[in-house]
Amino acid sequence: MTVQPAMPKCWRPESKPHKFCPGCGHGLVLKALGEAIDELGIQDRVVFGCDIGCSLLAWDFFNVDSIQTHHGRTTPVMVGIKRANPDLICIAYMGDGGGYAIGSQHLVNSASRNEKITVLLALNTVYAMTGGQMAPTTMPDQKAETSPYGRDPEESGYPTQGPEMVAAIAREGSYVARGTTVNMRQLKSYIKKALENQMEGNGFSFVEALAGCPTNWRTNAEKTWNFLQKDMPKYFKVGELKDPGANEKEGQ
């Protein structure tokens, strides 16, 4: 008999098993998010917004109020809610295409306005739902449907470094980190800090999570793990870039 690991309390059992592909990183990111929501006891205050792309499959993932929006537009919907009802904890969940390409103006301006929301972005280096096209975050030489011979940085630039960009424009009081589904304990702690930052009204909070996409990477378990653990961190350094809590401690 296999023992099933316990689901986070705020997960919606009726919509499980979830709709993501086997080996997909979304389930892990949403597990970390679910556990963070449970530990903070905010299930009754959370509004979860999901984007277009694979993230939309999470529209009924949680037993929390949830809104599936348009590609790149989850951030402004969550901003609109937060502005209208600051008591709610607003989480905008999206992929790297939604956050760094079609919705980049919303991410940048929400960060610079220091909106009191949390953006959680799953990075898998491809547009997954549409069939594996090149994303802003596709690695140099990585093959994708619209870069079949590998991404040529001369032609299409280098991968977008999201947390670094957000950290550069976000004000003091914002929380910015990059976690990975390779280190779930750390990822959960980052998401938890991001949510706490919103709850305390400090400012914008942003967590990017490196996530696997074996379907579009066309990788088996071993190669998926290698790409996530070894290749991606070459460009995407895991760690905290802005942490109001840490600054406070340093000042003491």
């Binding site: 529209w59 929390v64 809104i67 348009h70 901003v79 502005r83 209208a84």
Partner: protein
């Protein structure tokens, strides 16, 4: 701090944009999300001056996409929310508005039409009729009021919030740059004193209780798995829209009973049309006047009756037939000739309408 803006009726002399801001406050709008574009800017200017005095909020966003989607957020949080735009901004606004249409969100949008296509002019047109009535990748499930006077800007801005929250279709006040910038006299009033019952806003998200424990979670989406699933949802929308149409359709008409030529127009152009018809009637000419106030839904039955009686319809608009297309659609089957007087992006005078009417009489 949050006393009423208008406690008794008073005559004022204001620009249309100022009127819209006052009307939104009087209507109980709680938050405006906006992005600058001429000729709607002063709606934001007056709103931001009034807002803190009456506990209202404002957010200036990074573009119209964001203005539309934050307005959606405001609505889903259960606040009466609105935005205002024009021209290329209206083009961008169609993306969030298609989501509002899909999810039956009571978003109120004020459009002050400017010249088109593209950047064109910042001044005036009636060229955003197609975009406002049928924009986005949807079926035009919207309510659109085309106003002609500052009094109407005040009345219909107030009405829009009620209609939006009652029927849950995105609702528009379609003005134009002339109405926006011109000063005119009107009477301001407190809607509640006039017997207007405010339809209360309701929360889509953040209702009391823990989802999954005390209540079902609100799970809102605009994506469907299969064709039939979408089809069924849309059939409900169409049925609701049809039912609503009978209740919200508005128009203005006179002297159509025995008219050989009926002048059909909307918005600010209808002021010239009205005067032209009145003058010609005094001269004994058999002319009539018809003006849909709601461009979505159209007063189909009334327009069809008028078309069937008249010998000719003179359709007058500051666009190259956008309004005429709406007319043709609803009077399909009528053999009455339609004569166009189209001046895209340009105002149309009483004299021009009179001359054209006499020419075809």
């Amino acid at each position: 701090m949050s006393e009423k803006l208008i406690t008794e009726e008073k005559r004022v002399f204001m620009t249309g944009n100022e009127v819209v801001a006052w009307a939104a406050v009087a209507a109980g709008a709680e938050i405006m999300y906006g992005y600058p574009i001429t000729p709607q800017n002063e709606i934001m200017h007056y709103w931001t001056r009034l807002a803190p005095k009456y506990d209202r909020k404002f957010l200036q966003t990074e573009d119209e996409l964001s203005a539309g989607f934050t307005t959606i957020g405001g609505v889903m949080a259960g606040r009466k929310s609105f935005t205002a735009t024009a021209g290329p901004g209206n083009t961008l606004m169609q993306e969030p508005l298609s989501m509002a249409e899909a999810m039956r969100l009571p978003v109120v949008t004020v459009v002050q039409q400017r010249g088109g296509p593209s950047t064109a002019t910042v001044i005036y047109s009636q060229q955003e009729v197609t975009l406002t009535t049928f924009g986005g990748n949807g079926e035009g499930m919207r309510v659109v009021y085309s106003t002609a006077t500052h009094q109407e800007l005040f009345d219909y801005t107030i009405k829009s919030f009620n209609v939006a929250w009652k029927y849950r279709f995105p609702t528009f006040v379609l003005g134009d740059g002339y109405q926006a910038k011109m000063r005119e006299s009107l009477t301001l009033y407190d809607p509640e004193q006039k017997g207007v019952d405010f339809v209360p806003a309701e929360r889509f998200v953040g209702k009391p209780g823990t989802p999954g424990v005390d209540r079902e979670p609100g799970h809102y989406r605009n994506t469907y798995n299969v064709e039939e699933e979408l089809y069924d949802v849309l059939q409900e929308h169409f049925a609701d829209y049809k039912k609503m149409a009978e209740e919200v359709v508005e128009y203005d008409a006179f002297d159509t009973e025995d008219a050989d030529v009926v002048v059909v127009s909307h918005g600010v152009v209808s002021r010239g049309a009205k005067e032209a018809v009145e003058r010609m009637r005094k001269e004994g000419k058999k002319v009539g006047y018809f003006r849909p106030i709601t461009l979505r839904p159209m007063p189909e039955k009334q327009l069809k009756e008028v078309a069937d009686k008249a010998k000719k319809l003179l359709v007058v608009e500051s666009a190259q037939g956008q309004f005429a297309k709406l007319i043709k659609d609803v009077i399909y089957g009528s053999t009455t000739e339609i004569v166009p007087l189209f001046k895209p992006g340009v105002g149309i005078t009483t004299e021009e309408i009179t001359a054209k009417t006499k020419e075809i009489l």
